[in-house]
């Protein structure tokens, strides 16, 4: 079996009495596009925070690219090649699109001119080339999502964690964004995405993990997990799978 790029073993975290993530183990293979789905409040974003280092796990071990990254700070993980986007977009609002992306590019480019040039190239990859000089605060929701993506991409990650890059977009914008994500994965970057838009998950993901109430309840191909009775019940309530079967 090949080495996983990201491997979680028994990762748990609790906030007081709320066990947000319980005993999650998963292996993400390099060069693949994985998706993490689950009902609201399942702990998906918490799991992303644990992987990227914004939260420290109470128990469990995280290995990224052969290094134990358990308890490492986000900036240390970013240097190793693990970057994330935020579900609620977090632009540097006072700065232009170009300057925003350049902050990411500065991870590998110490020169200002080189980082700004790199920012232009990355902007072109996500379709932001026309808005390079706009302040980030003036962007539409769709463009802000692209900016999140671009800034993370500019760090030249090996693994990109995408937290709902399609949320809040209309069907037209979703249709425009899917090829962008696809192209990133095709370019050799391993992607793990949290997504509610099932159309995108079915289209993009090779492997899907389903999280409910902090636990992984299913994994497999998109088609397989959407037929899984546990998954249907997690979304629709107990007995739903049987009723669907009968219908």
């Amino acid at each position: 079996m090949a080495d996983a790029l990201l491997e979680l073993t028994g990762v748990s975290v609790a906030f007081g009495g709320l066990r947000a993530v319980q005993d999650v183990s998963l292996r993400l293979m390099p060069g693949t596009l994985g998706a993490l789905i689950g009902p609201n409040g399942a702990g998906k974003t918490t799991l992303f925070a644990l992987i990227s280092g914004f939260l420290k796990p109470d128990r469990g071990r995280l290995v990224f690219d052969g290094h134990d990254i358990t308890g490492q700070a986000p900036h240390q993980n970013a240097r190793r090649g693990l970057s994330r986007t935020f579900q609620i977009v977090q632009p540097f609002a006072a700065q232009t699109v170009r300057e925003n992306i350049a902050v990411g590019a500065h991870l590998h480019e110490s020169g200002r001119a080189a980082a700004l040039a790199e920012a232009e190239r990355v902007a072109a990859r996500v379709g932001l080339a026309a808005q390079l000089d706009k302040p980030a605060a003036d962007l539409t929701v769709s463009a802000r999502k692209r900016l999140e993506l671009a800034r993370a991409l500019a760090t030249r990650p090996k693994l990109l964690l995408l937290d709902e890059v399609l949320a809040g977009l209309n069907p037209q914008e979703v249709a425009e964004m899917i090829p962008v994500v696809k192209a990133i994965a095709a370019g050799g970057i391993t992607v793990l995405m949290i997504e509610h838009v099932m159309q995108a998950v079915m289209h993009l993901a090779q492997h899907v993990w389903v999280l409910a109430q902090g636990r992984l309840i299913a994994e497999g191909s998109p088609a397989a997990v959407t037929r899984d009775p546990h998954v249907i019940e997690a979304y629709l309530g107990p007995g739903a799978a049987a009723r669907l079967q009968a219908a």
Partner: protein, 319 residues
């Protein structure tokens, strides 16, 4: 960067020309004090404007510089120029200490402001009670005018010294606008979590900005001592210097290159004008000064420099 540097050179030449043209001591004094206020505002702007860390106690670094220079010169006979260097190093060290403490424990916003304020007060009380600082009496620097002693017979000497410090602060600010460190500092200011996600270590970045900001405050403190030959705990660590530094930067425009200079110049001119016009009615000058400050903050939330940028943006959008 080249444009910023050209601006700085033009500014320096203009100040030099003005110094040579002015013969009245009053005007030279006004020029010197304006440059001094600009240095305070520029120093505060490095951390507050570009780093978003609002210090209410920048007098801490100012006083450290002033006292370091005074103690070195008076008690240990150190040369004034060496004492100036020592003042800068001492202030930077205190900046590193306070910054390390505050940022290690993740203090932000009003908590950071309060911690800096508290440290300035602690240092004021220490200076009041310690023996080597002369306690409440303060410290006098013996008058001995010579360039070697960093004491000038003419105000022109002080203007030149102050101009050197202001130009250094302006170049540092210009560097922040066009460097990786500056980009990261502004990223941390605008959104710390987003900055961390793309590999920025906020602790190191904020600490660096604090040290730079403190170093310039230390230079200002040492300069104050050379001009007035006297320092006491209230002047050194009291709220007056802290407020002057932050108000100059806020009125002029935080996070801009020329804002702090503009703000300092406007406030200094305003302070002088109200004092001269309403001097016979004690307190009225402060009322007017305060009202103008309120108006500026209300109607120009981005400061004097922000007003120009906003105009340009509006034109760009409509045109």
């Amino acid at each position: 960067m080249a444009r910023d540097l050209t601006g700085i050179v033009i500014f320096a030449l203009a100040v030099i020309a003005l110094t040579l043209l002015l013969s009245s001591g009053v005007w030279l004094n006004a020029l010197m004090m304006t440059l001094y206020a600009a240095l305070l505002a520029l120093a505060w702007n490095l951390l507050g404007g570009f780093g978003g860390q609002f210090s209410f106690g920048h007098a801490l670094f100012f006083g450290t510089g002033a006292y370091a220079s005074a103690v070195a010169q008076v008690a240990h006979g150190v040369n004034a120029w060496a004492a100036l260097a020592l003042a800068i190093v001492a202030a930077a060290a205190v900046g590193a200490f306070v910054g390390a403490l505050a940022f290690r424990y993740g203090l932000k916003g009003s908590y950071f402001a309060l911690v800096t304020l508290a440290f300035a007060e602690v240092f004021r009380i220490l200076a009041l009670s310690a023996g080597f600082t002369g306690g409440g009496v303060g410290m006098m620097l013996p008058l001995n005018e010579s360039i070697a002693n960093l004491q000038f017979g003419s105000r022109r000497g002080y203007v030149a010294l102050m101009l050197g410090c202001v130009v250094a602060a302006l170049i540092t600010t210009a560097w922040l606008r066009h460097s990786r460190f500056g980009a990261r500092l502004q990223a941390v200011r605008d959104n710390e979590d987003a900055a961390r996600a793309v590999g920025v270590d906020p602790y190191r970045i904020k600490l660096g900005a604090t040290v730079a900001s403190a170093a310039f405050m230390g230079a200002a403190g040492a300069f104050y001592l050379q001009v007035f030959q006297y320092i006491d705990p209230g002047i050194a660590f009291g709220p007056h210097v802290s407020v002057e530094a932050l108000v100059g930067a806020i009125v002029g425009g935080m996070g801009t290159l020329w804002g702090p200079v503009l703000g300092a110049a406007l406030l200094h001119a305003l302070g002088e004008a109200t004092r001269n016009l309403f001097g016979q009615l004690p307190g009225l000058n402060l009322v007017i000064y305060g009202s103008v400050l309120v108006m500026i903050v209300l109607f120009m939330p981005r400061g004097l420099a922000g007003l120009g940028a906003w105009r340009r943006n509006e034109r760009g959008r409509h045109g």
